[in-house]
């Protein structure tokens, strides 16, 4: 029986099911319960976005509100992961990573290698990402490339509620540190989501739309935008294949190569800034491994090399739009932009 759920509800359900399955799963973060120690209601917030609302009543003792001390509590989650817990830490915005990044990239990411393969750090750091909320430069970034650059981290950025549930469950069961990026603008996005627990393996891209003329490789919020562009292009006789990477480290390049070998054309769409981005990474990989299949230059549609602006007039220009994506595909097909 099909049942739809928003991405936010899918995250809540994944956490709920995993905490029930495994008592060593603990969820911690700022205001994830909300109101701790305050005179009013318990469970006042359920996280800044309300994602964890209601869980404290089902799993008392497994959710912990933290002070505003990102270095301390992200580090504590990492330390606890080496001592028998499977913590899921929530960082309100990926932009706050700067505050606690040492614990992630010098500690969690390196323990296994640096200690000669003897450490396991099963920690998940959930955080929100992406622009479109008029939240300006310090609350809107798409920092996925920062994390994919770091060996030892796994990086997940789902595009829909179904994948979110399965990928979050996989993240919690995984024995490596996982950065799990949730796009704010997708929280209310609904898809069919089975009630039962299921895990989606890492490193398996999803072909979100099959097509034969051009390949779009993307992830996160840019998946629905690319699908929208593809519908427009369909009316113009251009048949687009859209690959949703789902996990950025590991990354499923085989699916990308196979598609490019068929279409001969590649457009990389990334909400991140363009330099050393997921888009440039995929473009470089295709240039190295599938150059002979290309019928023309690889295109990239990304944010500009600029911080996220506040004003709606500017932010709307900053985020790659379905129109820009469609234009890029048209150029790749040899047509002039509309």
């Amino acid at each position: 029986m099909a049942r739809t759920l928003s991405m936010m509800a899918a995250i809540n359900e994944a956490l709920d099911q995993e905490m029930s399955r495994d008592p060593t799963v603990v969820v911690l973060g700022e205001d994830i319960v909300g109101g701790t120690g305050s005179p009013g209601e318990d469970d006042a917030w359920g996280g800044a976005m309300g994602v964890t609302k209601g869980l404290i009543h089902k799993h008392p003792g497994q959710l912990i509100d933290t002070p505003l001390s990102e270095s301390a509590y992200i580090g504590a989650a990492i330390g606890a992961a080496t001592c028998g817990l499977r913590p899921v830490a929530e960082l309100m915005f990926v932009d706050f990573m700067g505050v606690c990044l040492d614990q992630i990239f010098n500690q969690a990411a390196k323990f296994r290698y640096m200690f000669g393969g003897k450490a396991e750090t099963p920690v998940v750091i959930r955080t929100t990402c992406g622009a479109g909320f008029r939240a300006a430069a310090q609350h809107s970034q798409m920092l996925t490339p920062v994390f994919t650059h770091i060996p030892g981290l796994k990086v997940v950025c789902p595009s829909n509620a179904y994948d979110t549930k399965g990928l979050l469950i996989q993240s919690i069961r995984d024995n490596d540190p996982v950065i799990f990026l949730e796009h704010k603008n997708l929280y209310d996005h609904e898809t069919d989501v089975p009630e039962e627990s299921y895990a989606i393996p890492f490193g398996e891209a999803n072909i979100a739309r099959e097509g034969t003329d051009v390949t779009i490789v993307t992830y996160g919020m840019m998946v629905p935008y690319s699908l929208e562009a593809s519908e427009t292009l369909k009316g113009e006789g251009i048949d687009v294949e859209v690959i949703d990477l789902r996990t950025l480290s590991p990354i499923d390049l085989d699916t990308v190569f196979e598609s490019v070998e068929m279409t001969g054309r590649l457009v990389c769409v990334d909400e991140a800034n363009p330099r050393c981005s997921i888009a440039s990474d995929v473009a470089a990989a295709v240039a190295q491994e599938a150059f002979g299949s290309l019928k023309g230059p690889v295109a990239m549609v990304t944010a500009p090399h600029a911080p996220v602006p506040f004003s709606s007039a500017l932010e709307d220009l900053y985020i790659p739009s379905p129109e820009r994506i469609a234009d890029s595909v048209r150029r790749t097909m040899g047509a002039h932009p509309s």
Binding site: I64, Y73, G75, A76, A80, M114, E120, D176
Partner: protein, 326 residues
């Protein structure tokens, strides 16, 4: 025979053996480093042994420690295999971390040693995690994070003290105050005359001890560790100690006063102070200590020779153990 000490004769001999092992390990590294056979950064714990051992004598394997860049002494005191440590410092395949960590990253989680750490103050958040895990898993393990007077100013340490206090974690913050943050004096860099005051700012007990006095460290550590084990929450322990060598091997130490090191070696050597006390009390005999000395020298000789002879990691190891699965 009357034993005026808080440890049994065997306990005293164990403590002596650990301190002597650290001293010998570090003195030999100092010599070998000068020959140019050891690569990278090496920070020696010689002179500071009484602090590490005085604390670690209270710990079991399920108790966790998060160490510093100056971690050899903590490793040995916590029971990490000396041969594996030496091989690691030589970058060999037989090393504690298969040659991938080196001096600044020696770890042995099976011994509760969560790693030396090249990032100052980084152990404090991690040890809060160890304390949280002990609390949630319902065992009586404690976590000890070591940091120097230099790293005591890191935000991570101060944030972690607050976190440990509000969660009542079984965690001890140990300031190893040797007076120098690299070359910079504690008098210049730390804006308080007493770390006890800093502890009070986070609502936790703080104790300052003479870190060259093993028994002072042992008793103070026993008190704060017992409190943590019994659910009484975190504490801070400051050990005032002496660094015999530079910040790192190769440090010319021109920032120290003329004669300072010689004076400290003559009058503030924690190992000499310890042996003086136990011999004077007549609890152990000098022959027993000489036997331990000889065994320790044999152990370090063996560790050194086997490390030098051990194979280097194979090229295939370059990209192994980045992930559990990938």
């Amino acid at each position: 025979m009357n034993n005026p000490f808080p440890l049994s004769r065997d306990g005293l001999l164990t403590a002596y053996r650990r301190m002597k092992t650290i001293r010998e390990f570090e003195e030999r590294l100092h010599v070998e480093f000068a020959k140019g056979d050891i690569a990278g950064f090496v920070h020696l714990y010689a002179g500071e042994e009484a602090a590490g051992v005085g604390i670690m004598m209270h710990l079991e394997d399920h108790d966790r420690i998060a160490s510093t860049h100056r971690g050899h002494g903590h490793c040995i005191a916590k029971g990490v295999d000396v041969r594996a440590m030496m091989a690691e410092i030589y970058g060999k395949a037989t090393g504690a971390c298969a040659g991938k960590g080196g001096s600044m990253h020696i770890a042995d989680l099976s011994k509760g040693m969560m790693g030396a750490n090249g990032i100052l103050g980084a152990g404090a958040p991690l040890i809060c995690g160890a304390g949280l895990a002990a609390q949630k898993l319902g065992h009586d393990g404690v976590g000890i994070t070591f940091f120097g007077d230099g790293a005591s100013n890191q935000g991570t340490v101060l944030e972690s003290m607050n976190l440990a206090a509000i969660w009542n974690l079984p965690v001890i913050f140990v300031v190893e105050n040797n007076g120098y943050a690299e070359s910079t004096s504690v008098d210049y860099a730390v804006a308080t005359d007493s770390y006890v005051d800093r502890a009070a700012g986070f609502g936790m007990p703080g104790i300052t001890v003479d870190g060259t006095d093993f028994f002072a460290v042992y008793e103070a550590a026993g008190e704060v560790i017992r409190r943590a084990r019994e659910g009484g929450g975190p504490s801070l322990l400051e050990c005032k100690m002496i660094r015999f060598y530079g910040h790192f091997e190769g440090d010319a130490q021109t920032y120290r006063a003329p004669g300072e090191i010689e004076e400290n070696r003559a009058h503030r050597d924690c190992l000499k102070i310890f042996t003086g006390k136990i011999l004077e009390a007549g609890v152990v005999e000098s022959g027993e200590l000489a036997r331990i000395d000889s065994e320790v020298v044999g152990l370090i000789d063996d560790a050194l020779e086997s490390a030098q002879a051990a194979p280097l990691p194979s090229a295939a190891e370059l990209t192994t153990d980045v992930y559990v699965t990938y």
